[in-house]
Structures are given as structure tokens and as C-alpha cells.
Amino acid sequence: MDVTVTANGTTYARDVEPRKLLVHFLRDDLDLTGAHVGCDTGNCGACSVILDGVLVKSCMLLAVQANGASIETVEGLAEDGELTPLQQAFNEHHALQCGYCTPGMLMSATALLRENSSPSDDEIKKALQGNICRCTGYWNIVEAVKAVGK
């Protein structure tokens, strides 16, 4: 089936099988390898992207469902290589180690900060519940998001 999406401002048209998951479409067909696959049950959130303004896990959507949609991925956050305040805060607060969960984590935090510019600790934790990190224990991630909020 023909699928046309706009990802980070660029429009892509591809012919895909209906069974292809959005995350594989992004990674394998569009070479946007920032979104990662960390599980096969929709739990880990490493594949999180923003689809038409809504935070979703791209492993629980078919690529064909995104036809006509506008997608934001981690690759689109820093314009011209200039890190966003959130990305800078992640660096400053050591909110990443291996970096595998980081793209999804950043998308979830970005979605949160759009809705709530100064979230509390509890609000941050609630917003990041769908993103598993096995390296940091989340404490520094919460600190980083809080630092941007303030």
C-alpha cells in the first residue's frame, strides 16, 4: 500500500506491506534509526514518536495507519545540530548512559513539556512511565526534565 508521511518536515512516500509496523517503517524504510525497539509487547517506549501532535509508541501502530500524518522523531528535535534545552539538560544531569532508551524518553518528555511547562516530580514520573530505562534508574532523567521545566 502507498503511504505518505511527513517526518520532521520532510515528506516521504513509500510502498509498504500493511503488516509493517510504523517503527520498522521509520527505521528500515526512512532510515530514521533514532526510534529503537526494546521489546515486543509495547512496554518499553524506546520507539516513542509524536504523531500529529500525539505521543505514541510506533511499535503499536501499522505504518499504513500513519498515512497522511506528520511525525516528529528524535532526529527532528535539534535544529541544525543545536541541542534543545531538554537535550542539554539530559547531558548536564547525566540522564542517559547507553542512550538506547533516550530517543523515546526525549519524545515523552517533549510531549509533557508542551502540555505542562513546569511539571512536578510526580507529573514527570507519570509522564515517563511508558519509557523503560535499564541504566539510570530514572532519577537523573526526572532531574533533567525538571530543570527544563523551571
Partner: protein, 285 residues
């Protein structure tokens, strides 16, 4: 992670969706997909065709009638329900939805999908039973009433041979992943009568995680508690007062499944504790 081959259809109306479902034996409706896609990834299920209900605006939305009855479109997401001013008329709905999975799942997952999956660990089946929800099912075939075509939430539109029937929640759930929604049918909306005295209690796998056992309660004179995770369908227990709930649960003769998270015995114990807590919370409102 890798699905079997599947056809994909995106109908433009409920009528078209029903037509597709009726015409293709192996077709499944795709709502939020937050369970179905995962089951398909495991290849534990592989429908021949997915009929994507996303985009059917008539299945979305929440209306509050003058008598306090809430009508919720089946494709309303948890996030929409949590944000809805109308849904605050029955506060428990938003409160429970806020504890389902995570933001991403709540953004896609729908209330209709939740009840239609009827996974024994889901939150909403027991809650729907406790609050006496009524499910409207539309089908192209013979039904009890011709669709009204009022244009309201979940309305299938006038004529076109669409019939609707209404099923109370306690008759809706028939088994794991099995409900009263038959072949060629769709759940279109859920209506919930007015009320505020509700409660919900669960022991979960991690904070706000998958339920190991849960209970939803509603007090309207008598106490009505529906238990989840203890059988293929929610188990309804009634009592005169919250204090009598635990005994009523014990008298229900539950034989919950054992699994890696809880033995049958532990679930039976939790059922009585959680039912009481939910009932107390409901009574205290």
C-alpha cells in the same frame, strides 16, 4: 515483532465498517491496537483483515444528558476521557483510566477496545459492570432496534439496514477476549447512568501496572462490587454494606487462575480485601 500478512481497510463510516466485517470472515476491527497489535506481533492471533476504526469520528466523543447519563463513543481514548469535562460527572472513569498503562497507550487505547478485549487483567470490564454500564452494539444484520440516526455519539446513522441492540455490562462479557459483540458487529457506544459513589482498588505489578487483582465498586443503596482477574469475566458481588462485602466475596466461591504473579489462593484473598477497599472508597464519597 513481525506480523503475519494482513489486509488493511480504513472505512469511512460505521456502515462501511460493518459491511467490511460482515463480508470478511477473518476480519477484525482495529481500535487503538494497543493489545491487538501486540498479540499479532506474537502471532498468537492473525486476522486476515484489519478494519481500522480510527478516523470514524462518530465513534468518538462524550455526551452528558440532562439526567446525568454519560454516553461515550467506543473509540474514545483514555486520554480523551481523562480530559473530558463531561466525564467528570462520573469521576471514577477518569480516575481509573489514569492508572491504565502509560501516556502513550492512553493516547491510543480506547474504552471500546478495552471492554471488547476483556483481558481478565483489564481495568474497565469490572468497572463497567459495577457502574451498570450499557453497551450498544451495531450490526448490519437483524437487531432489536433500527438505529435511531440521531447523529449523537456512537450513532450508526439513519437507515442503511443498521440495527442496534443494547446489552447491559453484566451480560456483555462472555469470556477471555470474547464479548456479546458478534460476527459482523461493532460496539459503538457505552452509556453510564449518573452516580458518584464509586471506588476502585487493585494490587498491580509495579505502580499503576498490570492488575494482579482488582475490584470496582459502586454504592447506590446496596453495594455492588465487580471483581477482575479472578475469572474469565468480571464477577459481580453485592452486599448491604461495605462491611459485608468481604463475606459476600468469600461466599462467591471464586476459583481464580494461578499464574506467575499470584496463586489462586492469594487472588481469592486479595479479592476480598480489594472488594472491601473499593466499597469503602465508594461509600465514603
Amino acid at each position: 515483532m513481525l506480523l503475519r500478512e494482513v489486509e488493511y481497510a480504513k472505512p469511512g463510516s460505521i456502515a462501511e465498517a460493518l459491511e467490511l466485517l460482515a463480508a470478511n470472515e477473518g476480519a477484525r476491527a482495529l481500535a487503538g491496537g494497543q493489545t491487538l497489535i501486540n498479540v499479532m506481533k506474537a502471532r498468537a492471533a492473525s486476522p486476515d483483515m484489519l478494519v481500522d476504526l480510527n478516523g470514524l469520528e462518530e465513534l468518538r466523543g462524550i455526551e452528558l444528558a440532562g439526567d446525568g447519563t454519560l454516553t461515550i463513543g467506543a473509540m474514545t481514548t483514555y486520554s480523551e476521557l481523562m480530559r473530558s469535562a463531561e466525564a467528570k460527572a462520573r469521576p471514577i472513569l477518569g480516575e481509573v483510566c489514569a492508572t491504565i498503562a502509560d501516556v502513550q497507550v492512553r493516547n491510543r487505547g480506547t474504552i471500546g477496545g478495552n471492554v471488547c478485549s476483556n483481558d481478565p487483567t483489564n481495568h474497565l470490564p469490572p468497572l463497567m459492570v459495577a457502574v451498570r454500564a450499557r453497551m450498544t452494539i451495531a450490526g448490519a444484520g437483524v437487531g432489536s432496534t433500527e438505529a435511531a440516526g440521531s447523529g449523537g455519539v456512537g450513532s450508526a446513522g439513519a437507515g442503511a439496514g443498521i440495527h442496534e441492540r443494547e446489552v447491559p455490562a453484566e451480560e456483555f462479557f462472555l469470556g477471555v477476549y470474547l464479548t456479546a459483540v458478534g460476527p459482523g458487529e461493532l460496539l459503538t457506544r457505552i452509556s453510564i447512568p449518573a452516580g458518584r459513589k464509586d471506588g476502585f482498588a487493585a494490587v498491580t505489578l509495579g505502580t499503576d501496572g498490570t492488575c494482579i487483582c482488582n475490584a470496582a465498586a459502586s454504592v447506590n443503596g446496596a453495594v455492588r462490587v465487580a471483581l477482575g482477574c479472578v475469572d474469565a469475566v468480571p464477577v459481580l458481588v453485592t452486599a448491604d454494606s461495605p462491611g459485608a462485602v468481604a463475606d459476600a466475596v468469600r461466599a462467591a466461591g471464586l476459583q481464580p487462575p494461578s499464574d506467575v504473579h499470584a496463586s489462586s489462593e492469594y487472588r481469592t484473598h486479595l479479592a476480598a480485601v480489594l472488594a472491601t477497599r473499593a466499597a469503602e472508597e465508594a461509600a465514603a464519597r
